[in-house]
């Protein structure tokens, strides 16, 4: 899974160059993937480790950096790539793009362009599951920047008050856009804030997929057991800039180089070999992932654009047809 996410992100990054005006980069018309593209490169272990424990019927809310969560929840790569290309066959019919990628058919309720906006939606979905007597749970991903927004406090308080089946996952990549989160965050961070709201929390190395998997597994067991919400604080690192055209020159080169040493795929590969696996197996998986993404990319390239009529559908039923 991590290799598939990495291959997807690498392709998306390549295809997005020249796709948005930001950080001194000018947009042209040549990029296949246009608009702001937020990459989760280097954060793959969090998505893979948590979603390992999710069933198709479980629900998930994500962030603006949501490709990895979507893939790990089981979404189809071709439909996802079509969405990034803005094509009619995309998971959202080309209406959302990268920042709003969603696949409700696998319980992935959407990436979100607003920091922390997924948290209230996640607790509402969990509340509905509980009221309806469902055994499904909700995994709610958000970043370290989100813990400084009000909905973080509101949603944790809500989930704890009603004992809702939700696993909060703070995917801490250390950066709030171009500001190091530590520079603007008081106190001891996500886990401490969760504990203050009586939400049990665990902190794990988010680049170690086994640690994420073990941590999430234990917490989800409690969540599924009706013990109420839990929070997983996964410490990882944002390898790329805030958006794909951001060269992130504001980072200290030495600290950045040191952080890259903890690459989750390198770590997992080394562990695999250490446990007696063959390096060739990994190479084969890398090739397989690349082939899958290449095929998705080709399919997206060949897919038709949405018809203009689609701009007027799925808005609302009441008064449909009245646009002015």
């Amino acid at each position: 899974m991590m290799l598939r996410i990495r291959a997807f992100e690498d392709a998306a990054e390549r295809l997005s160059q020249g796709g948005v005006s930001a950080f001194g980069s000018a947009a042209g018309n040549i990029a296949m993937v246009r608009g702001p593209l937020h990459l989760s490169t280097g954060q793959e272990a969090v998505a893979a480790g948590v979603c390992q424990h999710l069933q198709r019927s479980d629900l998930l809310t994500s962030t603006h950096r949501g490709h990895g969560h979507t893939l790990a929840k089981g979404a189809d790569t071709t439909r996802m790539m079509c969405e990034l290309f803005g094509r009619a066959g995309g998971s959202n019919g080309g209406k959302g793009g990268s920042m709003h990628i969603a696949d409700f058919s696998v319980g992935m309720l959407g990436a979100n362009g607003v920091v922390a906006a997924g948290l209230p939606i996640a607790v509402g979905a969990a509340h509905a599951l509980k009221l309806r007597g469902s055994s499904a749970v909700v995994a709610c991903f958000f970043g370290d920047g989100a813990i400084n927004r009000g909905p973080f406090l509101e949603a944790l308080n809500w989930a704890a008050s009603y004992h809702l089946p939700v696993l909060f996952v703070c995917e801490d990549n250390r950066w709030s856009a171009t500001t190091h989160t530590s520079a603007t965050t008081a106190g001891a961070g996500a886990a401490a804030r969760a504990l203050a709201l009586a939400v049990p929390a665990e902190t794990v190395n988010g680049n170690d997929v086994e640690a994420v998997c073990d941590g999430a597994g234990a917490l989800l067991k409690a969540v599924r057991g009706g013990e109420g919400p839990r929070l997983l604080h996964a410490l990882t690192y944002r390898v790329k800039g805030h958006v794909s055209v951001d060269p992130a020159h504001y980072r200290d080169p030495q600290a950045h180089a040191a952080a890259l040493e903890g690459d989750p795929i390198a770590l997992a590969s080394a562990r695999y070999v250490e446990l007696g696996g063959k390096a060739e197996d990994i190479d084969a998986l890398v090739r397989q992932a690349k082939q899958e993404i290449d095929a998705a990319q080709q399919a997206a390239h060949d897919a038709p654009w949405p018809a203009v009529d689609a701009a007027f559908s799925d808005v609302m039923n009441t008064g449909a047809g009245r646009w002015f």
């Binding site: 409700f104 948290l119 939606i121 609302m316 039923n317």
Partner: protein, 321 residues
Amino acid sequence: MQATNPISYAQAACRALAQAMQDDPAIVVLGEDVGRGGIFGQYAGLQARFGEQRVIDTPISEATIMGAGVGMALAGLKPVVEMRVVDFALCAMDEIVNQAAKNRFMFGGQGRVPLVARMPIGMWSASAAQHSQSFESWFTHLPGVVVVCPSTPQDNHDLLLAALACGDPVIYMEHKELWPLSADLQPTGSALLGQAKRWREGSDLTLVSWSRQMHWAAEAAQTLAQQGVQVDLLDLRTLWPWDRDAVFASAARSGHLLITHEAVQVAGFGAEIAASAAEATGCRVRRLGAPRIPVGYAHTLEEAARVRPAAIVAAALEMLA
């Protein structure tokens, strides 16, 4: 006609909601103090009847009340989301604007948000600047939501049922000074979203209003009739979609259209109606709303923000002069 079994605007909504909850187990209510009936009594008795699982008392967390409503809707429920007053709904603007209203379109129709967000508007005497506002025009500007502003107990009953049945996110705006207004309720009433109601027929001037202001428009029309001016008086009831056919037909007949609302006149919904009707029919138009000032506490200051019947009469006569 003598009222025989009058019911208040608040009770009418409560009766409609109880009926809908009885018929549809997916409907739940969430908001602050709803278990005790809501501070205006518009949820009286519902928790006792349907239980605290379906009539959910929440923390004072407007953003999450609204956002959770969106999540509940995506997971199969039909939430009625209580914001207490529209002024507090401002704490949930992201959840209304970026989440509830956009969800269906942005995700390519994968989900829908059948949610009714109740956010009472309007002056509520001596409630000052943060509890007196009328923001209906803000939401008419927002693709993806229905906007409803009932003015009578009957409409509050019928339109709440229609809102609950429509499947779209609805911004449902009751008026705080209308809660005690009482009238007989016709069980067969069935007001539709997007359908205006003619309160009075006339051919000299078309007068359009909604919500609390509708009652002052009616007083003004009565006064004008005594002066020989026959007003065609329309209660818009739903601001999006709004009944363009009814307004245009009336304006085309009378040639004069006056819109009055309690909200600030600048960029109010009256401007949209005036512009649309003038484009469509070439009628003369005028709008009359509040000055662009915050509502003051002292009654003298509050009065400066109210558009009384006398002002409507004066505006009508000036138009026809």
